[in-house]
């Protein structure tokens, strides 16, 4: 009898653990946000995180955007050529890049790059007592370590994604004109005719949410890591995995919010 119920009990326990974790992440996030608005402000640390987020992620995100724009152009051409609707390709590229691919892929790339680094840095600081040392030096670690990173993530990713939007469309244009033989002027005309300002707003809004999530997961898992080098490793993995899943989940929620009418 107990054997039969074991899977149920396990599922229930897993659910409770997940619920408790979601709760503590929410509290952590709320505390972090509240420190963004209360002095002292660590401008220097914010700038450092922002540069790390935006500037140093630029090459990775740019490559990702260009190639996905190229692939979309190629794929949709292969699919639509037999219907003779090749003019739709510019439209498909711009919509899929701006609405979905740029924010999601940039978010995932940044989760792997910056989120992991944040978790490793804060995790190391935790297990070497550096976070405790902050409290003994009249410094609130949530304010000093977490708040600047959350703000940097939320502001930096939109900037990155705007660049990714442009580069993704360029990737499509490159394939469209150089390989598929479209007229450059008409391709761009199609792109701008179809692009709506709402699409860009959504792109940037998603980016802000994803940037916040990446920073939140990096900080939460790093800040609460324990158990030496193994613990820091686990924190890094957890930060990347949980940020990636949350990005995809919130992508659905936001898409539903903006487009499902």
């Amino acid at each position: 009898m107990t054997d039969l119920l074991a899977p149920v009990a396990l599922t229930g326990r897993g659910f409770l653990v997940a619920l408790g974790m979601a709760g503590s992440i929410a509290i952590f996030g709320a505390r972090g946000i509240s420190h963004i608005f209360r002095p002292p402000f660590y401008v220097r640390l914010f700038v450092r995180s922002f540069v790390e987020f935006a500037y140093f992620s630029l090459p990775v995100v740019a490559m990702t955007a260009i190639f996905s724009g190229m692939v979309i152009a190629l794929q949709s051409y292969a699919g639509f050529a037999k219907y003779g609707a090749t003019s739709a390709i510019a439209n498909i590229v711009v919509v899929s890049v701006v609405r979905e691919l740029a924010p999601v892929l940039a978010g995932l790339m940044v989760a792997g790059r910056v989120g992991a680094a944040m978790a490793a840095e804060l995790g190391t600081m935790r297990v070497t007592d550096q976070i405790d040392a902050l409290t003994t030096l009249s410094t609130n670690p949530m304010k000093y370590l977490v708040a600047p990173r959350l703000l940097a993530g939320t502001l930096a990713l939109p900037l990155l994604v705007l660049v990714a939007d442009i580069l993704g469309v360029m990737g499509g244009w490159l394939v469209g004109t150089a390989k598929l033989g479209f007229n450059s002027h008409i391709y761009l005309q199609n792109t701008f005719d179809f692009l709506q300002s709402m699409d860009v707003v959504v792109s940037v809004a998603k980016a802000a949410v994803f940037g916040f999530l990446v920073a939140l997961m990096g900080c939460y898992h790093g800040y609460n890591s324990r158990g030496g080098a193994v613990g820091v490793g686990a924190a890094t993995t957890n930060a990347v995995v949980s940020a990636s899943i949350l990005i995809l989940a919130f992508d659905y929620v936001l898409t539903e919010l903006f487009f499902a009418r």
């Binding site: 840095e121 550096q130 003994t136 030096l137 009249s138």
Partner: protein
């Protein structure tokens, strides 16, 4: 009023899982004296100090500083009290992303009492006090030897001239001469600042050099407290076995805990 100890701990308990690390600690540290705490590895010395610092929340008991129970204060008032404590962590806990001078001046900068230029100059002075060249300020903690890291940690702890100073094994892992130098610096700082100090150590020579008084932690309780000079001839069986490092005696090393 002068009889009131700077730090008064009563009935402090802390349990991790089902392991009771602190089991009713009573300890008084009089103003402007230094108290040495000895005890076996894993006996909870670091946990005790972290409880006073507010890094670990005890399960029960009271910690009075200047007669006020810090555990019952508002968070802001707690932070203010803790701002008066300088701490040298067991492993240094230097901020490895910051150069040495910013480590040393961290507390000064955090209080916004000085500009960065002033903080930098002040850091150079404090580094000189602990026997390091001011140019060391430009290095990063990873570029220092263990002994230098201890000195920088000491410099960081004393920079804000705190009323209380805690040292967690300040000389562990140093050669005997460097150990004696650090001890000298500690007594100099404590006497110079008139601070109240708690020092954790395994090193008996160091304990007698740093300490005015001493206390021994065993099985979660303070089993002996007295003059640090009497550590080697305390007449207490537990202390004797510990300070003389005898394998036979009332303390049975628990290899599995």
């Amino acid at each position: 009023m002068s009889a009131q100890p700077k730090i008064r701990i009563r009935g402090l308990t802390k349990q991790f899982g089902d392991k009771r690390v602190l089991d009713g600690i009573d300890l008084d540290v009089p103003t402007a004296t230094s108290m040495v705490v000895i005890g076996g590895s894993g006996s909870g010395k670091s946990v005790l100090v972290k409880c006073i610092l507010g890094i670990i929340e005890p399960d029960d008991g009271s910690i009075e500083i200047d007669g006020k129970d810090v555990l019952k204060l508002e968070p802001a008032a707690q932070e203010a009290v803790r701002g008066e404590i300088g701490m040298l962590f067991q492993n240094g806990a230097l901020f490895d992303s910051l150069p040495v001078w910013e480590n040393v001046a961290f507390g000064l900068l955090a209080r916004h009492s000085v500009t960065r230029e002033q903080a930098r100059a002040r850091a150079g002075e404090i580094l000189t006090e602990v026997g390091l060249a001011p140019s060391v300020g430009d290095l990063y903690p990873a570029e220092l030897s263990g002994g230098m890291q201890k000195r920088v940690g000491l410099a960081r702890a004393i920079a804000a001239k705190p009323a209380m100073l805690f040292f967690d094994e300040p000389t562990t892992g140093l050669d005997p001469i460097m150990g004696a130098v650090i001890d000298g610096l500690i007594t100099q700082c404590v006497k110079g600042l008139g601070s109240t100090a708690i020092a954790i150590t395994h090193d008996m020579a160091s304990a007698r050099r740093i300490g005015d008084q001493a206390a021994m932690l065993y099985k979660g309780r303070i089993v002996w407290q007295g003059e640090a000079q009497h550590l080697m001839d305390s007449g207490n069986e537990l202390v004797d076995q510990f300070t003389h490092g005898r394998r036979e005696g009332p303390i049975q090393m628990e290899l599995r805990r």
